[in-house]
Structure formats: structure tokens, C-alpha cells
């Protein structure tokens, strides 16, 4: 038998790793759309049907997609649009206007953006309109096709929908929803928001024009589904050049058995795809030529990094004097049950410690202690109670500590070369 050249190409390890990084980074960092939205079938069907009715049958609609951050609202919408644009008639006819509450902070700016996205700047020219409604009607009229029978369907997509509700008089929302109710032109108004109470934000007249159709993306994934998602998010596609490498990567039995505990912890705190992608990205950064497969220790490190307490990290770098001030504040909080304190009280506690219990801390002068206190203020570990009104001398300004008891104690455990008398003072009950 003549040895045919194997159809499976084999790349060098370095190239394989580079390809893996490229594919997975596009998935995690750039939020590349999956082929089908996972776990959201009914919502997807509902949205697709709605948009199709507007695009193909000329029906006007409005809908709100509501879900917490990272649930997949934009992803769902883009998948639906992608599928819809495969139809030729939709692709030729439908216009899309994408607005964002973060960018268009004003109705005037929003109107300019709509004009721009509909490519009607020349048509509008220098016309002055009496009201927002006139302007919008003019724009939609201009979209009518040659035979003046009907206007082209327009999709208005409003990201961060709740921010539009904060505009003056909610003019944009009122007019868009008004158009969607009246039979002027086939428009679909799709709003995406993370607020469950978005309808409370709408004025009565706006709310009445809204169709009250909401698509909720509340994640109801079980842990098994989460594990499947973990596996599929890491999976390399079938067309990967080196199939042996991709098979090994996809199977990776040892990894999937040993990371269940770590994933359980993540699942319990946050089960959306965005945080999963972040975890996988951190693990991916440890994959290199010398370490071409993903191991359990990589996931463990990534998990540790993503769940680290930032404030504890900051406490680690404080000087001993600053740490003593924090312990003094903790004692004041314990004794007086969280009432605000001022610098004089903290200094008093600190002086008691110096005089009675300490042998390693020098009795620093008051200005030096004030400087350390102000450093803590700059780091926002303590905060003035009334926002820093300057009528009071700075030593008497009331403050609160922004750390709690357990954070301080844990930070003390990790503090490098902590003097023992300081530790004892922290642990003792009534300083």
C-alpha cells in the first residue's frame, strides 16, 4: 500500500498554541457570536418572530429585552439579526438604526444620529423643524419607496434603554413608540436594558404607547448545563488545522474531572457567560509553548485571581502606623457599634495602645499621625460622613471606616512582618 500523505496536517506546537489563542481570544475578548444562543431558545424564537413580522409583513412592533449584565441581550439580538439578514428581501429592504443610552445622552444628539444612520443628511439639509415629531415624521416619509405605497421597515435598537428614560420629557421614546403604534411606517423598536423596573421609569403617555412586550433573560442554568457550557466554550472548532491537537484539547479528561469544585464556587457567585469568559481568559494567558494544554492548576490560579479581595491587597501595602490607625478605628467601631468617629478619637485610642501595650511602636508626633490618616483618606479606606463639608476643623471631621471586621483581621494575617503587639491588640476585645 502506498503511503498516502496524511490529510491531517500537523503544525508545530508554537503555531498550534498561537491558533488556539487567536480563536479563543476572539471568543472571550471580542464576544464573537455563537452559532446558536445557548439556553435561550424560547426567547430567541420570540424575538426572531417579532422582527420577522416587521421586516417581511410590515407590522410595527415594540419589545424590551430585560436581563442582568452579561446575560446575553446584545448577543441574542445580534444572532436574531444575523439570521434575519440571510433572507434576501430583508437584507435589501430593512434599515437599522443603533442608538446607545451611553452615547446619545440627549434627544437632540439622538435625532442627529438617526439622521446620520439613515443617510438622510443631504435630504434634511438646513431645514428647521418645529418639533421633534415633525422631524421624525419627515425622516420616515423620506424613506418611502418610489411608488409611495409604503415606507421601508426600520429597526430602532436602543441599548441602555433605561438611560433614554432620563431625557427631558422622554421625547425620543414617546415619538418612536408613537410611530410604532400608528400605522405610518413599519418600525420595530427594540430596547435592551438591565433594569427590571424599567417600566416604572416611563411616563404614563409613553408607557401606554408601549406594547408591554418584554423578553426576560433570567439565567436559569443548572450546574450541569454550566459544566457543559464550560466545555463548549473551550472547545476548538472542527476546522482547526491540526486535528490531533484539537482532539486532545477538546477531550482533556483530566481537566474536566478536577475543576468541578472551582467551577461550583464560580457558579454559586455568578453564573453568567461574561464572568465565565473572564475566568477562561485568565487561564488561557498561562497557555504557552512550554505549557500547551490547559491544566487544573491554571484554572485554579485564574479563579484565585478573579476572586481576590482588592481591599485586602491594598491593606497589604500600608505602613505599620497606618495599620495601627485602622485597628484603632476597628476598635472604635466595635465599642460604639459603627458610629462615626473623628481623628481625635482615633488618635486617643492609638495613644492608649502606645502607652499601655506597645513596645515596638514609637510614639509618633501628632502631625506625622495626621499625615498617615490623610493617606488612608486618599485611598478611600475611610470616608467623611457628610461628603467633606469644610466648616469643621479636619481633626474633628466625622468619618466612617469602609472596611469591616473580618477584612481587617484577614489582612492582618497576611501582613508581612506584623509586630506581635499590634496583632495582639487587634485580637483583644476592648483595647
Amino acid at each position: 500500500m502506498s503511503k498516502r500523505k496524511s490529510r491531517e496536517a500537523h503544525l508545530a506546537v508554537g503555531d498550534c498554541v498561537a491558533q488556539v489563542q487567536r480563536i479563543l481570544r476572539e471568543r472571550f475578548c471580542h464576544q464573537r457570536l455563537p452559532d446558536r444562543p445557548v439556553g435561550l431558545e424560547s426567547q430567541y424564537k420570540h424575538l426572531l418572530e417579532l422582527l420577522r413580522r416587521t421586516a417581511v409583513h410590515g407590522e410595527s412592533n415594540s419589545v424590551l429585552i430585560v436581563g442582568p449584565r452579561g446575560a446575553g441581550k446584545t448577543m441574542l439580538l445580534r444572532c436574531a439579526l444575523r439570521e434575519l439578514l440571510e433572507l434576501q428581501e430583508v437584507k435589501q429592504n430593512v434599515l437599522q438604526v443603533h442608538l446607545s443610552g451611553l452615547l446619545q445622552t440627549d434627544d437632540r444628539i439622538a435625532l442627529k444620529e438617526i439622521t446620520r444612520q439613515l443617510h438622510l443628511e443631504n435630504v434634511v439639509g438646513d431645514k428647521v423643524f418645529g418639533s421633534f415629531a415633525e422631524n421624525l415624521v419627515f425622516l420616515l416619509e423620506a424613506l418611502k419607496r418610489g411608488d409611495k405605497s409604503s415606507s421601508r421597515p426600520v429597526f430602532f435598537i436602543l441599548e441602555e434603554f433605561d438611560l433614554f428614560a432620563h431625557h427631558k420629557n422622554q421625547t425620543l421614546l414617546y415619538n418612536l413608540l408613537d410611530v410604532s403604534q400608528s400605522a405610518q411606517a413599519p418600525v420595530a423598536v427594540v430596547g435592551l436594558t438591565c433594569r427590571l423596573d424599567v417600566l416604572e421609569l416611563l411616563e404614563k403617555r409613553v408607557k401606554s404607547r408601549f406594547s408591554h412586550r418584554q423578553i426576560h433573560l433570567l439565567s436559569c442554568m443548572s450546574f450541569c448545563q454550566y459544566l457543559d457550557a464550560f466545555r463548549s466554550e473551550l472547545a476548538l472548532p472542527d476546522d482547526f488545522p491540526d486535528s490531533k491537537f484539537s482532539q486532545e484539547w477538546n477531550l482533556n479528561k483530566s481537566l474536566f474531572k478536577s475543576v468541578q469544585e472551582i467551577l461550583q464556587k464560580h457558579f454559586n457567585s455568578c453564573k453568567d457567560f461574561r464572568s465565565l469568559h473572564l475566568l477562561l481568559l485568565l487561564a488561557l494567558t498561562r497557555v504557552s509553548v512550554s505549557n500547551p494544554t490547559l491544566r487544573a492548576v491554571d484554572i485554579l490560579e485564574a479563579s484565585r485571581m478573579s476572586s481576590a479581595d482588592s481591599k485586602a491587597n491594598i491593606l497589604h501595602g500600608l505602613s505599620v502606623l497606618e495599620l495601627c490607625l485602622i485597628i484603632a478605628m476597628k476598635h472604635l467601631n466595635d465599642i460604639y457599634e459603627g458610629e462615626p468617629f473623628n481623628f481625635q478619637m482615633v488618635h486617643n485610642e492609638f495613644k492608649k495602645f502606645i502607652q499601655r501595650k506597645s513596645h515596638s511602636i514609637h510614639n509618633f508626633e501628632k502631625p506625622v499621625v495626621i499625615k498617615a490618616f490623610e493617606h488612608l483618606l486618599q485611598l478611600e479606606l475611610i470616608r467623611p460622613v457628610d461628603g467633606g463639608v469644610c466648616k469643621v476643623q479636619r481633626e474633628y471631621q466625622l468619618m466612617r471606616l469602609m472596611l469591616d471586621h473580618t477584612q481587617v483581621m484577614e489582612a492582618l494575617q497576611r501582613y508581612p512582618q506584623c509586630p506581635t503587639d499590634v496583632k495582639q491588640w487587634a485580637i483583644s476585645a476592648f483595647g
Binding site: R22, R25, E26, F28, C29, H30, Q31, P68, R69, G70, T74, S100, L102, L103, Q104, T105, I109, D162, L163, C194, R274, L278, L281, L282, T285, R286, S288, M305, S306, A308, S310, K311, N313, I314, H316, G317, L318, S319, V320, L321, Y336, N342, Q344, M345, N348, I361, H362, F364, E365, P367, V368, K371, A372, Q378, E380, K391, E395, Y396, P416, Q417
Partner: protein
């Protein structure tokens, strides 16, 4: 290689791995936003900017302190990434919407072959700018549809940045602080041996490390005091190995530095001159020492009276200031709980009449209530030694509070009380309440 050079700078292997692999292959996508936090002077800006320069990645470095308005931020970013022509496309007073529009326009002509980085230093100031700026920048990659990553550097933790309704969570990276051992190995001085210099730094850290860990401050102090440290060596009084003598020479000097230069009471120039003068007797006049020198005679008494009015409860006035007051019932005010002691809570407001009553009993000579006395009270308010409490339109009973500390008052008392017993009376009266 440039990456190796950066490795040397970074003080843990862990951060280095994460950082260099995040910036690993610039043609690939980077996470849309990265938040790097750590204490000041841990090398955040230095490492990031050096890494980007060495790897020759297109980037824009903007310090938010310089950006009084968002428009300056947008202008500097466009200037650094695309050149002056693109920055000119921005309208006057640009909003985030204009920035995104211009960016999309320009990047359509120059699509990204490599990730573009926008590095924002002192990012905590972004919270005080327009509310949509921070969430918008975190999502910039999505909004402009380009391979761009925003890196935020700050010393404040991410929890304080998060907007109310949430935002796109960036990747958090911590830059750890330098350990003591690391600080010892960082610098050296060319004219002396590294062992001598590191023994000097050891002594310096012995005095300052428990107070301050900021590398910049420590470096500044090290630079200021090194010549004094080397004085015995220059004069030939001691050899390099004689660390005990060198320590005895420098240690009181460093302790004085903590009270003056460290607190910025004197400038570095003054400190340097004082070292050269070598007169131990001339005490350095710090900034706060200059505050109470030139007050008029009655103003000093007014200030003492104000302090007594602020910190004594009104019912004790009779006891202190009236002769033949008779017995006073022992109230519980002396046994007050420590926390509510007036010296912990701060000064209390008092009406003008009370101030004048105490003033007349404290001043040793007879004083007529002329307008000059009242105008001195107003001057004290302007000097912020007294603060006026309440509305300006309350003409008949204005209320005041004393805004100076006990040390200040004692220093003034020393000036005005010629009679020793009067001074003792005053200090006794004040001491009773501390």
C-alpha cells in the same frame, strides 16, 4: 529582549506572566478593558508604558489629571493614535458620541492591524466627569467596533468605581507593593560601595519604614540626607565599616527630618542649607510655627477666651471666672465618658456675649468695649482662627467656634502672661478639662 528588561522591573513573576501574556500577540484581540490598581510608586505607569514602547504597540497615554474636561481626553487620544488631522475633526466641546463617531470614521480608513491601547492614569478622576464617560470607555471596543483596549490605572480599588446600574466589568490586575528587601536593592550611589549605601538605606528604613512605604518619599529622603550620612567619612572621622558611628551621626538627623521635611514644614532647600550651616542650635522654623506670631495683644486674649468658651461647658463659667463663687455642686461633668469629652468631639459654638464676658475676666487690665475689640474678632474670623457658625444675617447674636488647637493656645499664653500665676491659672483651667 524587551520583555526580559521589563521582567527585571516587575517585582513579582506572577504579575509579569499575566501582563505579558495579556499583551501577548497584538494581532489578536485583547480584553476590552483592564483595570490595574496598586499603591502609588509601585510602578504601574512605568511598567505599562515601557512595555508598550518597547514592544512598539500603538498606544495613547493620557493622565486624567490633565483632562479638566472630557474633550481634552478625546483630543489627546485621537492625537496619539491617529495623528493631528483626526483630532481636528472633533467639534468644539465634544461629547462621547462625537468621539465614537470620529473614531469610527478615522479607523475605517486605518483599520487596526494591531491592538490599540488607551492608557488612562489617575483613573479615579473619571468618576467625577460625566456619568456616561466611564461606562462608555469600558465598552469602547464594542462601541467603535475596532481592536482597541482601554487600560485604567489607579490606586483606588475597583469597588469604588462601579456605577449604580453596573457596567462592563474590566479585568482586574493588582500591582503588589515593594517588600523591604526589594527596596534595599533598588538604588545605589556611584561614589560609594553598594554595601555602604545599603546600610544607609537600612538605617533610613529603620526610622521611616513603619511610617511611610511610598517609594518616592523614601527616595526623596534618601537623596536629601545622604550627604549628611557621608560627612564623617569625608571628614575622616570614621571608616566605611564603622556602622555604629555612622548610625549615631545620622539617626537624630533623620528623626528631625521626620518632624520637618517629611511633613513639608520646611522645604528641601531649607533643609539642605541647615545641614551645611551645622548650627545645631538654630531650630528650623516650620510653616505652622509662623502662624501665631503677629497677633495684636487683645486678639491673643480673645483667642484664649474663645478656646475656653468652646471647650468649657457654660455652667462652669461661674466657677472659673467669678471670684467668691461659693461652693459648686460636684456634677458628673468631670466623670464624663471618655468619648464625649469635649476634646474628642471638637469645639462647641458660643454666643458673642459669652465670649466677651470671659474676655473681660481673663484680661488683666480694664478694657472698654470699643469697636476695635469687635473688629479684632472679625479679623480672627478672617484669619480662620475662629469660625463663624450660623447665618450671616443673624446680626444680634452671632455665634463662633474656636478653630485652633491647645498647643497653639498654650504658645500664645506664654507670650501674653507676664504674671506667672496667671499663666498657671490658665493652664490649670485648661488642663482640668483635658
Amino acid at each position: 529582549s524587551p520583555k526580559k528588561r521589563v521582567t527585571v522591573m516587575l517585582n513579582t513573576v506572577h504579575t509579569q506572566c499575566c501582563l505579558s501574556s495579556l499583551l501577548h500577540q497584538p494581532e489578536q484581540y485583547c480584553y476590552p478593558s483592564i483595570f490595574i490598581y496598586g499603591h502609588r510608586a509601585t510602578g504601574k505607569s512605568h511598567v505599562i508604558l515601557t512595555l508598550l514602547k518597547e514592544l512598539e504597540l500603538p498606544h495613547a497615554a493620557v493622565s486624567c489629571v490633565e483632562c479638566v474636561s472630557a474633550g481634552l481626553l478625546f483630543e489627546q487620544t485621537l492625537l496619539a493614535l491617529f495623528g493631528a488631522d483626526s483630532a481636528a475633526l472633533l467639534p468644539r466641546l465634544p461629547s462621547l458620541s462625537d468621539f465614537v463617531r470620529v473614531y469610527r470614521q478615522v479607523c475605517a480608513q486605518q483599520p487596526a492591524k494591531q491592538t490599540r491601547y488607551i492608557v488612562l492614569e489617575r483613573a479615579e478622576l473619571l468618576r467625577d466627569m460625566e456619568a456616561n464617560l466611564l461606562p462608555g470607555l469600558l465598552r469602547l471596543q464594542e462601541l467603535v467596533d475596532d481592536n482597541v483596549a482601554v487600560i485604567l490605572l489607579s490606586e483606588i480599588v475597583w469597588d469604588k468605581f462601579r456605577p449604580n446600574t453596573g457596567c462592563f466589568e474590566p479585568l482586574l490586575l493588582h500591582f503588589p507593593d515593594y517588600t523591604k528587601g526589594k527596596i534595599l536593592s533598588l538604588d545605589s550611589n556611584p561614589s560609594y560601595t553598594p554595601e555602604l549605601y545599603s546600610s544607609y538605606i537600612n538605617i533610613l528604613l529603620g526610622v521611616f519604614y513603619s511610617v511611610c512605604r511610598d517609594l518616592r518619599e523614601l527616595r526623596h529622603l534618601a537623596a536629601l540626607n545622604f550627604s549628611k550620612f557621608c560627612e564623617p567619612l569625608e571628614k575622616g572621622e570614621a571608616k566605611e565599616g564603622n556602622t555604629h558611628k555612622l548610625w549615631r551621626n545620622i539617626e537624630p538627623h533623620l528623626k528631625r527630618a521626620m518632624q520637618t521635611v517629611y511633613l513639608r514644614e520646611v522645604s528641601s532647600v531649607q533643609w539642605g542649607q541647615q545641614q551645611m550651616d551645622e548650627k545645631e542650635a538654630t531650630a528650623l522654623r516650620g510653616l505652622s510655627a509662623l502662624a501665631h506670631v503677629e497677633l495684636p495683644y487683645y486678639s491673643k486674649f480673645l483667642l484664649i477666651a474663645a478656646y475656653l468658651a468652646s471647650y468649657n461647658p457654660a455652667r462652669t463659667d461661674r466657677r472659673f471666672f467669678v471670684k467668691h463663687h461659693g461652693k459648686m455642686k460636684k456634677t458628673s461633668f468631670l466623670k464624663k465618658h471618655e468619648k464625649t469629652s469635649n476634646h474628642l468631639l471638637g469645639p462647641k459654638p458660643f454666643p458673642l456675649d459669652r465670649l466677651l464676658a470671659i474676655f473681660y475676666s481673663v484680661v488683666d487690665s480694664r478694657v472698654a468695649p470699643t469697636a476695635s475689640v469687635f473688629s479684632q474678632i472679625s479679623s480672627l474670623v478672617t484669619l480662620q482662627l475662629l469660625t463663624q457658625v450660623g447665618h450671616d444675617d443673624q446680626l444680634d447674636t452671632p455665634k463662633y467656634k474656636c478653630a485652633v488647637s491647645l498647643d497653639f493656645i498654650l504658645a500664645i499664653s506664654r507670650c501674653v502672661c507676664v504674671c506667672e500665676t496667671k499663666y498657671l491659672f490658665l493652664t490649670f483651667g485648661l488642663w482640668l478639662l483635658t
